[in-house]
Symmetry: C2
Subunit: 381 residues, 2 copies
């Protein structure tokens, strides 16, 4: 339990437990705990129903508290991270099973990763045979075993070796390296998450699953089994789950959702997975210079706009129309808007929005139940 | 001087003083100290030559060290902040003359602002008569004087009362309020900074200066003098300086510059003010899956893309082509790119980029000279 004494509301923290939602200093990141818990339960059911393991992605929230809840109550077998410093922060907070869904190439970072493997199960991705010897030497130096997945490019065109023979060749190199253990495949198709049309999204994942299945089969021929075949995100996981190819889902955004994911439709027309908005940027109106324009206190330093502007939640007659560094301009469509009125914004993109804040203000109904630190905020290296 | 003992490179800090630039853990925010110092001197000369005071805007860097250098060596009479929490952070660090270039409406924030005025000269903007009584009561409660500028909308269409009679009416209310002192006008035209064409930009500022001059004249008729007529930013300050209307420049980005400001031309075709790039996001290449694509470790959590993607600095054959949360995709135009190669990126927008990081790695040539904390990082409330 956190010690709240000595913390100054406003300067140190946006709120304290027991405060009313309307007293929270804004802009602040607010978690609707009821919606969050329902999202946890929904994803647990989805994973159980499909017989898949869930390895929840912590890059979304960067919070040790949420990672723990995903494992203890949300059915997750472990956690994904994207950076060594993120993994360091979560291992220090007691998380003991972490896949870094990324390549680690810098010698200092490789050493840091190997040191972590003395305290937790550490799995990492590799897409280049040249990466194997440095990882192996670091593992031996620290007397640990690092599990390594071969990351294949299954359509995302970012990192990843080519599927098929090059992937098998790389797996062989890993398998022969002291201190490493070949753990399987990383086959994540990021851009597919954001294809709005379900049929096109299904086709992208089907293509990814195809090349993944072919690679698994070639690996089997070479005597190499895949403990983990990982991938999938909140936008596409039903397709990976049904493919019969994957066995670990790496969804992250499902706990919160955002305005971008609201545009992603399920096959039946509803929202994929049935998840609901559990994350908001709470903002206050600070100026109403003219009848049709209000200005709120949440701009580019309080919410990420890379995937579009935020959506005003559950409040008619207002639209978030433009962001500058510290201001949001609200278009007022008739009706009144009051100075100091609190407004909930659904951020365009939850991951980089969380990374802007130090605290989640965790709310049950209209009351602050607790605060969770954004444990790995700014841990980008 | 900071105590560096006990800080772990990688987890706590991206570098330590004395390290070589190539050893810095990436992604990291790097300040080229030579270029930074030249920018300080350039702006000091501009302000002196035009007989204007410079009140440098700290929202760009959020750093107490840089604010101090702007005052002690860069000719600034004081500092601008955008949020009460930013001002709190800088007052705690010893800055003693601060204009909050923004309205403060929340009762708790008003109280915090008044408490600051016991420790520093505090000036704030007002655009609504309803704001005056709460400010006045807080000032009296804490036994302080708060200076208040009337913010007018001189074309930006964000906050600000209408110029002319409504501004005079508001100034009268401030002038009559116990604990407040009418300090002048805030007449900032933000969007004008980013108009690429110098003639169009000049026209926007000329229109702003016109309504400001008319308002000053009406205030004079009402017996109200303006100690401060403030506004201007890095993109437009030569126009405000020449107008004869303003007396305080509020430039911020000049210390660093960014890719967006590179597109802003001076009247003679060069760069406005002659400022040079002093801020970079240092990134490392972490994957080269195919000949024409490399992937680096700086994405949306290391740089802000609201004003466009970053530009690769002083390195031929590479273009930053797309950002995801933790990755940047680099288009490789012939030539070789090596794993772990360090690349300097000029961020699209310096202010929200600084706010993503905890430290400035301050470099002289190829050596880390010191680190400056981003003192008010995340101080958005």
């Amino acid at each position: 339990m956190h010690d709240w004494s000595g913390l100054e509301v406003g300067y140190d923290v946006p709120a304290l437990p027991g405060m009313a939602l309307r007293e929270v200093q804004t802009p602040a990141l607010v978690v609707d705990l009821d919606a969050f818990e329902r999202n946890l339960a929904r994803m647990r059911s989805h994973a159980e129903a499909s017989g898949m393991r869930l390895r929840a992605h912590a890059k979304t929230h960067k919070s040790a508290d949420i990672a723990r809840l995903q494992i203890e109550r949300g059915g997750a077998c472990g956690i994904c991270c994207q950076k060594v410093s993120e993994a360091e922060a979560l291992v220090r907070a007691g998380i003991s099973d972490i896949l870094v869904t990324n390549e680690v190439r810098d010698p200092v970072k490789i050493d840091r990763l190997a040191r972590l493997a003395a305290r937790a199960r550490i799995i990492v991705c590799v897409d280049d045979p040249e990466n194997v010897a440095p990882l192996s030497r670091a593992a031996q130096r620290h007397g640990v075993t690092i599990e390594a997945l071969v990351e294949i490019d299954c359509g995302a065109r970012r990192c990843g070796t080519l599927p098929g023979a090059p992937a098998v060749q790389l797996a062989r190199v890993i398998d022969g390296a002291e201190g490493l253990r070949f753990g399987g495949l990383q086959a994540y198709h990021g851009p597919a998450q954001h294809i709005a049309d379900p049929a096109e999204r299904a086709a992208a994942i089907a293509a990814a699953a195809d090349v993944t299945a072919q690679t698994i089969s070639l690996l089997k021929d070479a005597g190499l089994d895949c403990d983990i075949v990982g991938g999938a995100g909140t936008g596409s996981f039903p397709f990976e789950a049904r493919s019969g190819v994957y066995n670990e889902l790496q969804c992250g955004s499902y706990v919160f959702m955002d305005a971008d994911y609201e545009r992603i439709r399920a096959e039946d027309g509803g929202r994929v997975g049935g998840f609901e908005n559990a994350l908001f940027v709470l903002t206050s109106v600070m100026s109403v210079p003219v009848r049709d324009r209000a200005v709120c206190d949440a701009g580019l330093k309080a919410l990420a706009v890379d995937s579009g502007l935020p959506r005003v939640f559950d409040r008619k007659g207002l639209r978030y129309d433009g962001a500058s560094d510290e201001h949001g301009v609200l278009a007022v469509d008739g009706g009144e808007v009051s100075i100091n009125e609190r407004i909930k914004l659904v951020p365009g993109h939850c991951d980089p929005t969380c990374n802007l804040h130090d605290w989640f203000v965790v709310v049950r109904g209209e009351t602050v139940e607790t605060l969770w630190p954004v444990t790995a905020r700014g841990k980008v290296f």
